[in-house]
């Protein structure tokens, strides 16, 4: 490593909040292993396939009741308590592709991978000029439960932005709080989904 890099890394390490954290005690590993091994919810591949089926049959009626109670609670609790409100963040609409010609390059996974935020979302509603999207999947970055963005202006945009429609699903990329146009953000099609999957494998 370059001396310059080493100096920078040393400086960064001086600011490491965990530098004073003592190493894990010798009993730490045993304690953690004990916790994991006593976790009853784990079904390892070592069990025979018949055993869980018998257990499931015995507990199925109770599981059904429990599921019913859980569903009822999920419906009633928000009505009684008002429910936890989803987090909302605002993003700026696409400012165009950044090309003077107004044209965009062929979309590559690397372009999508370079986004600070990337997520799948469905348009819940459009109030005036504000589009409200419900996030259904996060590929990268911290993304709130819902995202608000101004509707694309068909008159002033360079046509690389996405006009959002209620009920439609989209794949969205953003950098510095601004939605990226030029094909990075678009309707959730098989082609665009394939690019996102390639950009964010696993």
């Amino acid at each position: 490593m370059h001396d310059d890099d080493r100096a920078l890394r040393d400086q960064l390490r001086a600011a490491d909040p965990a530098r004073a954290l003592p190493p894990a005690s010798p009993t730490w590993l045993d304690h953690r292993m004990e916790q994991i091994m006593t976790d009853q919810s784990v079904s390892t591949p070592t069990v025979t396939p018949e055993a869980p089926r018998r257990v499931f049959r015995r507990w199925m009626p109770m599981a059904g009741v429990a599921a019913g109670v859980a569903i009822a609670a999920a419906i009633i609790a928000p009505l009684v308590l008002g429910g936890p409100e989803p987090t909302v963040e605002s993003l700026q609409p696409s400012m165009g592709g950044g090309l003077a010609s107004g044209s965009c390059l062929v979309l590559e996974p690397a372009t999508v991978a370079a986004q600070q935020q990337a997520f799948a979302a469905t348009v819940l509603q459009i109030q005036g000029n504000t589009v409200v999207l419900e996030v259904t999947k996060r590929f990268v970055g911290e993304v709130a439960d819902r995202v608000e963005v101004a509707q694309v202006d068909a008159i002033t945009s360079d046509f690389s932005g996405v006009p959002f429609e209620v009920g439609q699903s989209y794949l969205v990329g953003a950098v510095d709080g601004t939605i990226t146009g030029c094909g990075v953000t678009g309707a959730d099609s098989a082609e665009l989904r394939a690019v996102y999957d390639a950009a964010f494998p696993g």
Partner: protein, 191 residues
């Protein structure tokens, strides 16, 4: 049908915990409070145990991705809880939101360098600061950072290089008056 022996599986898990347990514990302590870190490492190791057959040869970046997702879930749940409690007790929400920039609040203020670097990190974009933390604090190489961030090794190396340059610029701003530090442009990427 016995796919793998219980003892063998436990032994693999024990080896995995011995390998990644402490680095992941430090990763979490750098990014959240101690209590949350302890909770999340339990969740992380449980996921590792359940997905033991998927653990790659280079287990650390994979485990850090699991830890990051567990931490993200915990922070999201905490934010929801805080809002709900705020509604129920009808007072101002308690200031227990997840710390977006833990370094800013947990670093020993007595160290001048640490304070300056902390301020410089805070001046960077979140992604730049995070890649530098992964490099310097978590001691990950570019290919490992690539796994954690879900990008190509080449993209990770480029991002790291740019982030270093931006940090140097931030540091230069802060020490410009004293003139203690000078950097050459074009340093190498990660080891």
């Amino acid at each position: 049908m016995r796919v793998v022996n219980d003892t063998e599986r436990e032994e693999r898990m024990r080896n995995l915990v011995a390998l990644v347990g402490d680095p992941v514990r430090r990763y979490l302590h750098r990014r959240t409070d101690a209590a949350t870190a302890d909770d999340v490492i339990g969740d992380t190791l449980l996921v590792c145990w359940r997905r033991l057959d998927e653990v790659p040869d280079d287990a650390l970046p994979w485990a850090i991705v699991v830890a990051r997702q567990c931490l993200s879930n915990a922070q999201r749940a905490e934010r929801r809880r805080t809002r709900l409690i705020g509604r129920i007790i009808a007072i101002d929400p308690p200031p227990a939101l997840a710390d977006e920039n833990p370094a800013a609040s947990t670093v020993d203020e007595g160290t001048t360098v640490a304070a300056r670097v902390t301020a410089a990190l805070a001046g960077l974009r979140r992604d730049d600061a995070e890649i530098l933390r992964l490099w310097a604090w978590d001691e990950l190489t570019s290919p490992q950072i690539a796994v954690v961030l879900g990008i190509s090794a080449n993209a990770a190396a480029i991002r790291l290089h740019r982030s270093k340059a931006r940090l140097k610029q931030e540091l230069l701003k802060s020490v410009h008056s004293t003139g203690h530090i000078t950097y050459d442009e074009g340093s190498e990427d990660a080891r």
